[in-house]
């Protein structure tokens, strides 16, 4: 009885080990390609592998991850993987592309659980809302919705989502100012 279970478990683990070895490389490749693709969408044009050059800055009990985009020997920008816990549904994750001086280049939504048709207008596939951030520097651009006295037009009927979005971008900017000089 024990022997049967042992043999089955041994066979099963051997099979899994084999498949793991076979798929390890494609999995890493797919993950790397996904990261590079996401960084390409937000950071200024680069020719290095930002997925491999990264650092993290602690922020609010978690970390903001930065990927460094370089062209030749110059740092042309950063892509910051940032988050906000103030969203309407769960955690909101953004990838914010910065120029070295902190100007926002472009923003992509990595992960969200906002309401379809309302909060999800922050994604580029649904509306042009998020383009208002491009080219703005949070140093002189108040990352708060107009209702709260800031400079950002909120999404209609999705003020909470808009606030969380600003919160995430602000967190990325603060982290960049804190640790971006490396």
């Amino acid at each position: 009885m024990l022997l049967t279970l042992l043999i089955i478990s041994l066979l099963a683990s051997a099979a899994m080990g084999a498949v793991y070895n076979l798929t390890k490389e494609p999995i890493d490749l797919a993950k790397g390609a996904k990261k590079t693709l996401a960084i390409q969408r937000v950071a200024p044009a680069f020719d290095n592998h930002p997925g491999e050059e990264n650092f993290s800055v602690a922020a609010d009990g978690d970390s903001v991850y930065f990927y460094i985009a370089r062209k030749g020997n110059d740092t042309v920008g950063y892509a910051a993987e940032t988050f906000s816990n103030k969203a309407f549904g769960g955690t909101l994750k953004l990838l914010v592309g910065f120029s070295p001086d902190g100007t926002i280049n472009d923003i992509a939504v990595l992960e969200h659980k906002e309401t379809p048709g309302l909060g999800d207008k922050m994604t580029k596939a649904k509306s042009d809302w998020s383009y208002q951030f491009n080219g703005k520097n949070p140093g002189n651009y108040k990352l708060q919705v107009k209702k709260d006295g800031g400079d950002v037009d909120a999404i209609t009927a999705s003020t909470i989502t808009s606030r969380a979005y600003c919160d995430a971008v602000q967190r990325a900017y603060d982290a960049l100012k804190k640790g971006g000089k490396q």
Binding site: L5, Y20, T23, I27, A30, A38, P116
Partner: protein, 205 residues
Amino acid sequence: MSQLKHVTKGFLKENPTFVLFLGLCPTLGTTGSAINGLGMGLATTAVLTLSNVFIALFSKYIPDKVRIPSFIVIIASFVTIVDLLMSAYTNTPGPHGEPSLYDNLGIFIPLIVVNCIVLGRAEAFAAKNSVLPSLLDGIGIGLGFSFALTLLGTVRELLGNGSFFGHKFIQGDGMLIFIMAPGAFLALGYLIMIMNKLKKKLANS
């Protein structure tokens, strides 16, 4: 020819979703779009077919007392293998940065291991039958499940997003409730109603 009924029964007579009401958690959770439903259905089919074949092969050597743990080990291995393969080959994001199939299905792939269809077929069919009928049973029930999930996904996507397999044909949003959780129950309820009607008609004629 008589073996073929093991394949066809999964679509209507013993459809896991519309008739047996098994595996409703992934059914409701992954059918926000047709392609997600189809992906989930095919992943389950792969696990179901492989585990059915192996359980039919080994069942006479497995003592009754460790039957369930052995089945779970076999099923869990195949789920892990499918999960690894999917994270390697279906993890490419769409052209506008839409999440990949692997990201969309997320936690539901590892959860196939607790899908009652898989263990149910292992217990009720594969353990008592030889390899060929078990293989056909796995394919049949799996394809029936895929069919149900794709149908439900198509209906929800059509009504909720105004698109068919990702091809949009209306401007803006559809009836959004259908791609949210309550819409899953609504759409499933109506589909079951239509299926029951169909079955009655078939039985009468």
